[in-house]
């Protein structure tokens, strides 16, 4: 198993080489933040700058989202990919948001990232089912053992499902009362690729401007319908939420329903399997008919 130090050297070397040979026009990785244990995504455009790239236990940001921004749309883009990034990229490929031939993926077998303050592995990484990148052009080091099986990640959802209707209503009311609608969860989500989000289409009036439980819940529920069944379980929404809302519980509820009704389906496992809610098959369950 390669140490993070080894991985960092390898990323710098590969990114530098790819940029020098002009295989790619830019490379997306992480740079060190202002304080120890901080990092932020970095777009490198020259071989010399590749030395700014870092890799350690605290590189928490999901890079797949940064591929979707306009500033790296020219030429081929290099990017460091772990399991979560690769699933996000597959989702974007399927949605027609990226072209595979425009990507050079440097794979990293991930051992999970940590919270700097507690030095403990992040919750999203503890629940990670795909630590190894699913797609890559070249891999640094060797693959690692995968995390829990998919069903195990539904434990929290199963607990919630066992509650009565009133108890659930109370639970979610308490959750959404705390939402401040900063929309960070949307901004960080690799599945959110609309040119203009429904919540910003003010003239249409999908979303009111009031600060109320109803509007908060409207935002949360609509977001669930838009991205729940396409969630790659990177857990970024939950990580960035300043109100610390259990957003992955909502996503996983949709995933679990899709899983129970339409059978095993892992979002982002490839770039061609259609979303279960967007397709109609003869053998689909029709309980309501």
């Amino acid at each position: 198993m390669a140490s993070t130090q080894d991985i960092q050297s390898a990323i710098r070397a590969r990114a530098g080489k790819l940029l020098q040979k002009e295989v790619i026009s830019c490379f997306i990785g992480w740079e060190a933040g202002r304080f120890e244990g901080q990092s932020s995504p970095l777009v490198v455009r020259s071989a010399a700058d590749a030395q700014k790239l870092i890799y350690n236990d605290y590189c928490v940001q999901l890079l797949a989202k940064y591929l979707l921004t306009e500033n790296c749309s020219e030429g081929k883009v290099g990017v460091a990919v772990r399991g979560c990034e690769s699933r996000g990229i597959n989702l974007a490929l399927k949605d027609g948001q990226l072209q595979r031939e425009n990507l050079h993926l440097v794979g990293i077998a991930c051992q999970g990232v940590k919270d700097f303050s507690t030095k403990e592995e992040l919750k999203k990484c503890q629940e990670c089912t795909h630590r190894n990148p699913i797609i890559y052009d070249d891999l640094i080091g060797s693959e690692v053992t995968d995390g829990p099986r998919v069903e195990d990640t539904f434990a929290e959802v199963i607990e919630l499902e066992a509650l009565s209707h009133d108890e659930r209503y109370e639970y979610w009311s308490a959750v959404f009362t705390r939402c401040i609608r900063c929309k960070a969860c949307r901004d960080v989500c690799p599945g959110c690729t609309c040119n203009e989000c429904f919540t910003d289409q003010a003239a249409m009036g999908w979303q009111g401007k009031q600060s109320s439980l109803a509007e908060n819940a409207n935002y949360g529920i609509t977001r669930m319908f838009h991205s729940g069944e396409r969630c790659i379980e990177c857990g970024e929404c939950e990580r960035v939420c300043p109100a610390r809302l259990p957003l992955m519980q909502i996503n996983r509820k949709v995933l679990k329903d899709a899983y129970d009704i339409f059978g095993e389906y892992v979002v982002g496992i490839d770039d061609c399997t259609p979303n279960p809610l967007d397709t109609y098959l003869l053998e689909d369950v029709e309980e309501f008919m």
Partner: protein
């Protein structure tokens, strides 16, 4: 600023009986942008329509709301009315205060309150309506008829006689369907084959009809006036261009198998025509039972064929053809009672047969030349029990519905049995006798006079005793247990939908009800149309029917097709989907959900923020789009909008109700 007119219809007492119309009208006056409100006794009547037209002129209205019956009923009427005014026909909203309101509520207070809500929603919606204009779609003037039973044949003949080409697709080797298997037809007792065969021949010889036997519809795309249908022509192993139908191959074929046409009462060869009057009057080879094809032995038919028409190498062929209209006439099948009725022996007793098998037994051209014999020992049965409603009107075991034809063919069978067998005894066990039809009840009365014993009740079980069958049941009129020993039992089994109707319905977007029958657009007013424009139903595909009803419906469907073909082009529905290219991100979710294949994605180069970028965008084929709205619901970016039902309009409606 829009100027909305609101018209509330009394519909006699249909609405006014449960809704305080004046109160609704009063409430409508205070709605935003409403400048005129009027009550109307019958808005759809001529005076009603004139009053609306007059109000439009007088008050300079630019859009209207009509509170009346369901838009399915009169939206078209009022659109047509608007087309005679200065207002665009699509600046109209119907508030359904009849079917969804007055008819379902008993208390006037509740009905009135709901009507006000519905009118308020419609007024909010109409405020955002925009004028829409129809385009023109060309018509391919060729019809496809699926199913070559009497309904399909009649429909094909009617269309062909009007001068339009028709393709008649039949999955069996011959057209004729079930009717040609029957002996005589109630109530006139015409020989079924004698009246069916001339129609078959006429269809076979008609210059405008192309019969494709042994064929099935495999795929269908397109829309009214322009369907593209792929038909699988299964291998016949006989070159129909060379074959002269001499029948020598059939005589000499050594491979004998059970005849489906004779319901297992006789055998046929591997190269065969199912019956002498078959159309096309040429044989096919049943590959599953041909020795040459399976074992590379025999080859007798090839050696003997003077026309050199045998081709063992024949393959299935896929033929794609354009059609303007489609008639589905897939007919019925009899329910497989052997799987459901263990108490009747589940098919183990050879002399317990279904009605269609009995038809072959009494048929002069059948395997016994019309002599009624027991399939088990070939002896003449002296007594017969007929059981009606086997699988029909029996929701626990079979189907809940009535199969409609059984009461009459049961009476016919009893009549024929008593006529042919001297000293014969015939017992008919029935639930009710349903003889609604011209001359039907008279026929049933005659059967009673013939001596048929009608017993009201079901048979609970049948068991063999010696060479006879003991039928045990209850006479529910005398409330006594009845036991009848009979030489033969005929079960009048339920009609069920053809399995293939399922696939065909799905291909053409025609829904099926729970029992699998194809659904018409409206049970009373549009009985032959389906919800897919340009696709019509004929015969028992839509539900159990007898021959007169099937033929009548077939001609009705043909009339619809001919009416359409007489036009040069069709008006397209302007209520279709549109793409907001700024918001579309090209994910293609809409392509997957569109049931009509109307959406594709296309690459478009365009300037954004002074830079040329290539975008993938959804593209709607206006001819294919049926305006169902599935795509608009699937579009996360809300880049798709259904004209006439835009997101904005729906939100306005919801807000009007909820806020």
């Amino acid at each position: 600023m829009s100027r909305i007119g609101v018209f509330i219809c009394h519909c006699g007492t249909n609405i006014a009986g449960t809704v305080n119309v004046s109160e609704v009208a009063e409430a409508a006056k205070s709605l935003p942008h409403v400048v005129h409100v009027e009550e109307n006794k019958y808005a759809c009547s001529d005076p009603g329509q004139n009053a609306i037209k007059q109000a439009i002129e007088e008050h300079n209205l630019d859009r209207i709301v009509i509170g009346s019956c369901s838009p399915r009923m009169h939206e078209e009427t009022f659109r047509k009315m608007l087309s005679e005014t200065s207002v665009n026909p699509y600046m109209l909203e119907i508030a359904n205060i009849r079917e969804q309101c007055s008819w379902v509520h008993k208390e006037k207070e509740v009905g009135t309150e709901k009507s006000i809500d519905l009118v308020r929603m419609s007024a909010a919606k109409v405020d955002r309506n925009v004028p829409l204009y129809s385009g023109e779609i060309p018509i391919t003037k060729r019809a496809l008829v699926i199913g070559g039973g009497i309904a399909g044949i009649q429909a094909a003949l009617d269309i062909a006689d009007a001068g339009f080409p028709v393709t008649l697709v039949e999955k069996e080797p011959s057209i004729g369907g079930k009717m040609v298997m029957l002996d005589k037809t109630f109530p006139t007792m015409d020989c079924s084959a004698c009246i069916c065969a001339p129609k078959m021949n006429e269809a076979g010889a008609h210059p405008n009809i192309e019969i494709m036997n042994l064929s099935e519809v495999e795929d269908a795309t397109g829309y009214i006036g322009n369907f593209s249908v792929t038909i699988r022509q299964k291998a016949k192993y006989i070159d129909y261009d060379k074959c002269n139908g001499c029948g020598l191959c059939e005589q000499k074929c050594p491979s004998k198998v059970v005849s489906e046409f004779e319901r297992g009462l006789a055998q046929r060869r591997a190269v065969y025509k199912p019956f002498p009057q078959a159309v096309p009057s040429k044989p096919i080879i049943d590959a599953a039972n041909c020795r040459k094809i399976n074992e590379d032995r025999c080859g007798v038919c090839h050696k003997l064929c003077g026309a050199d028409a045998i081709n063992y190498e024949d393959k299935d062929e896929l033929i794609t053809q354009e059609y303007g209209a489609v008639i589905i006439a897939t007919g019925y099948e009899l329910i497989d009672w052997t799987k459901l009725y263990g108490e009747y022996g589940a098919g183990a007793y050879p002399d317990v047969i279904d009605g269609l098998t009995f038809e072959r037994l009494i048929n002069a051209s059948g395997p016994t030349e019309g002599k009624i014999v027991r399939p088990s020992d070939g002896k003449e049965p002296k007594s017969c029990v007929m059981i009606k409603c086997v699988g029909s009107r029996d929701p626990h075991k079979g189907k809940a519905y009535c199969s409609r034809a059984c009461c009459m063919y049961g009476a016919k069978h009893a009549h024929q049995f008593l006529e042919k067998i001297e000293d014969g005894e015939c017992y008919v066990f029935y639930m009710d006798v349903r003889a609604a039809g011209k001359g039907y009840d008279e026929f049933y009365m005659n059967t009673l006079e013939d001596g048929a014993v009608y017993v009201r009740g079901r048979i609970s079980h049948i068991y063999p005793e010696g060479s006879q069958y003991v039928c045990v049941g209850e006479d529910t009129l005398s409330k006594k247990l009845v036991t009848v020993s009979a030489d033969m039992v005929v079960l009048d089994t339920a009609m069920v939908a053809q399995e293939s109707a399922d696939t065909i319905g799905r291909l053409f977007g025609v829904t099926r009800n729970l029992d699998g029958w194809l659904t018409e657009a409206h049970p009373k007013l549009r009985p032959v149309e389906t919800n897919t424009a340009g696709v019509y139903l004929a015969g028992a595909a839509q539900g159990p029917k007898d021959i007169p009803d099937s033929v009548a419906q077939a001609s009705a469907a043909a009339a619809k097709v001919i009416g359409m073909f007489c036009k040069d082009s069709l008006e397209s529905n302007p209520m279709i989907c549109t793409v907001n290219e700024i918001n579309c991100r090209g994910c293609g979710d809409c392509v997957d959900v569109c049931p009509y294949g109307a959406i594709s994605t296309q690459s478009v180069d365009r300037r954004e923020n002074s830079v040329w970028v290539t975008r993938t965008l959804a593209f709607i084929n206006a001819g294919l789009c049926q305006g169902c709205g599935a795509c608009t619901a699937s579009c996360k970016a809300s880049a798709l909008d259904l004209l006439g039902f835009t997101n904005e309009q729906i939100l306005q409606e919801v807000d009007a109700l909820c806020l």
